[in-house]
Amino acid sequence: MSLLSPLALLWLGITVPVVLLYFLKMRRRKVPVSSTWLWHKSINDLRVNAPFQRLRKSLLLILQLLLIALGAVALSHPIARSSPPAHKRWVFLVDRSVSMRMTDVKPSRLEKAKETARQVLRECGPSDEVMVVSFSGRAQVMTPMTASRTAVEAAIGRIEPSDAATRAQEAYHIASAALEGAKEREIVVFSDGGFEAIQGSEDVPLRFIPVGGKPKNAGITAMDVKKPGKADEPWAVFVQVDLHHEAEQEVPLELYVNGDLKGVRKLKIAPGSGAGTIFEVSKPEPEVVQAKIAWEDDLEADDKAWFVVRQEKTKILYAGSGNLFLENALAQVKDAEAFKAAGLAEQSTGDYGVVVLDGLLPGALPEGRYLVFGGVPSWEGIQVGPPMELPAVVDWNRRHPVTRLLELSEIAIKEAPRISLPGFATPILETSDAPLVFAWEKGRTKAIVVPFKLAESDWPLRLSFPLFISNAVEWLRSEAKVQPKPGEPLRIRLEGEETEVEVAGPSGRRETLTGEKEADVVFGDTDRVGLYVVTRGKESRPIALNLFDPQETRGEVASELKLGQGKVARAGSVTAPMTPLWRWLAAGVLLLLALEWLVYHRRIEI
């Protein structure tokens, strides 16, 4: 048994005045009786059994002293190990995601989680080993498995909040790997539980200690800036704000264009729902648009969002023997400039945003964005079988940005190779038994492959064709699959002859990244939302990292942790393995109080 606050034992000092009071002559009430003779006799009888009787006489005193002692010990927070100390391995998974920045519990959820982790650490046996892993978008091992309490305390202290969303899976993998083979083991998760189910095994005991309260938070969950169709029309800025609060709230939203305040809206939002608004901006032409919620809530990271408007036109290289329909369609693509080359070898593809290969297929394609017609690149995983005669289009991917809203069923094709695709390639047009057109995304290469020859099909004559080309170019030139998120590393390609770029984070910290020509450099310090400015030589380009995560904005505290396949880790308390004894002692105090009351009243009520 150990005491959490041994100073409370000073309360034992109360016994001194109690005893003193007891020994002070009692002021007795005088009661006249007819004769003290019988009383005298009775008392003499009592004195015969003196030692025991004297004890009985001071039973009240003994009870009172016992009561004080129990009370003092209870106040000193005694805890006892409920099971014998075993060599146990612990992994503390501390969530440092953006929702842990919420201040609905003071000072913040993360600080509270750290405090709770320290509390659990105190429960650990002297020979137990502890590993601390913090996680947000990525997991970070704060300290490897160690028996040193100071190392663990320091590791817990080092955990800093991040603006990234929560991904717990990686941390869980690290934890279960570290606990492999240990007989006594436990994973303790300190988190608000705002993440998707973990795929984990039931063998490793997992305790979930929820942290957080009821947050009051408004956050920007989506933002988009649309260029007008005509030059004299205003730009449209769409902002979506979600509110998680107990009552309806008017959330003031400010819009800054290139750093100047351009508009303020008050969005009336019902609790638990969202509201979208569209700002119209005519001048100046926006480069960086920032939306900002001017309302004090529990989370700051989702109160600001940035949008960087891409200005330059995409250069499209058409390489092929010439197809009027295709060339026309490419010329129609918005914000793009089409160039034509007879073959690929004489051109460097690096200068072009999208390369269209029409019937041309060099042996090895460098990384890039390709729209391929009339052939299948020899990429890993693609198998080309015998050609299919007159393949009929039976289905197309209606959710893919390239084929969305297109009618493709009536395309007639003379011949197409039968292909089979690896798992990560997405078929977007299919015959009854094989994919026809597919989207390819691997590394920095993105491609839409149409394996049949355009000249052997009636597709170019159909309305869907120019739309397909436009969508495909749009999809191919888009930066990445998803917008970069805080917490994820920024991959920057060194272009041309450059060997270094400078990245400045929102905090103002600058870092120069160096690498080989045409290689990727990685900027990892993306824990905060905001604008990251990439400077190449004289040219600076901002990249916006926004939270845009409704789940983190909601900040709801889960009562249980989903552990995949319906398994659930219930919320555990901090003090499971160490039993606090104060409850028992308090019960003892109550019992003694009742006993004292009884003893006292047995003297009084007959």
């Binding site: 009692m26 007795r28 009430r29 005088k30 009661v31 006249p32 009786v33 007819s34 004769s35 003290t36 003779w37 019988l38 009383w39 005298h40 006799k41 009775s42 008392i43 009888d45 009592l46 009985r56 006489k57 047995r602 003297r603 009084i604 009520e605 007959i606």
Partner: protein, 295 residues
């Protein structure tokens, strides 16, 4: 009649008139009364025959026997004499205790017995006292003396310590003639009762002890840490009254009552324990009749 209202009520008086004191032995009173006497004489109840001797009253010759036997026999009768009732009322200060007050109860008991005696033409003497003082009412006879008896009883006040020995000794001396002696007391005498009761141990006397205690003495309703002050001698006894102590007290009281009972049983005295909470009528009309003190 002054005081009748407070000590005896009309209803009780009517019922008392039906009663008489019972003495198991034949009495030898001084005056003719309604109790059979050992002496043969002119009573109405036949006792025996004896040979006529010269000088005997010829009116007592049984002429019918003479006619049959031709011998003179004298008819002997029990002479009916009065009973001498002496009542001792303890008026020590302890008797002023209790609710109802023990002394008042004792006075009413005494009044009842005295009235029964007076109704039966018995002689009633009342003595009262405590340590250092004694009051007495000279023997009275006849219903008309009830007023005097009640007046005397009314005038009694509780004062002084209990000294049964002195009181009973005096009573015994003053009422030397045999008869009924009634002692009404709480017997809370620190010197004990044996020394006092020995003065009553005369074979010719019918002795009745009426032990009067208040309910507060039988089951004390005091609690806690107290200083008990003896009302007679002012002695202070500090006690922490607990259930255990109360049990011991009650055991002590039981021992006192039991001791008195045993003492009386072995010496032919009548003993009655009376709690002042019990109605007087119940004691006089039932208990005392059942035990043969009254008839």
């Amino acid at each position: 009649m002054k005081g009748t209202a407070s000590l005896l009520d009309a209803n009780l008086i009517r019922q008392l008139e039906q009663l008489e004191l019972v003495v198991r032995r034949l009495n030898s009173g001084r005056m003719k009364g309604e109790k059979k006497s050992k002496r043969r004489g002119t009573g109405s109840e036949f006792a025996d025959y004896r040979d006529y001797a010269q000088g005997d009253d010829p009116r007592h010759i049984d002429w019918n026997v003479y006619g049959r036997l031709d011998r003179l026999f004298l008819k002997l009768f029990h002479e009916e004499e009065d009973l001498r009732l002496a009542i001792y009322v303890d008026t020590s200060r302890s008797m002023s205790f209790g609710d109802p007050e023990k002394l008042l109860y004792a006075k009413r008991l005494a009044a009842c017995l005295a009235y029964v005696a007076l109704c039966n033409m018995d002689r009633v003497a009342v003595e009262a006292g405590a340590a250092g003082r004694a009051e007495q009412l000279r023997p009275l006879r006849g219903k008309r003396q009830l007023g005097a008896v009640l007046e005397f009883l009314e005038g009694l006040e509780a004062d002084g310590a209990t000294d049964l020995a002195a009181g009973l000794k005096q009573m015994s001396h003053r009422n030397g003639a045999s008869g009924m002696k009634v002692v009404i007391s709480d017997f809370l005498d620190k010197r004990g009762y044996q020394g006092a009761l020995k003065w009553l141990l005369r074979p010719e006397d019918r002795v009745v002890l009426l032990h009067v205690l208040s309910p507060q003495e039988v089951h004390p309703d005091i609690v806690g840490d107290l200083a008990l002050e003896d009302c007679e001698d002012g002695a202070v006894q500090e006690v922490s009254i607990t259930a255990g102590l109360l049990r011991r007290y009650e055991q002590g009281l039981k021992a006192l009552v039991g001791g008195l009972k045993d003492y009386c049983r072995t010496r032919g005295l009548a003993y009655h324990f009376v709690q002042t909470s019990v109605p007087l009528e119940q004691v006089v009309l039932n208990a005392l009749r059942q035990s043969g003190v009254l008839r």
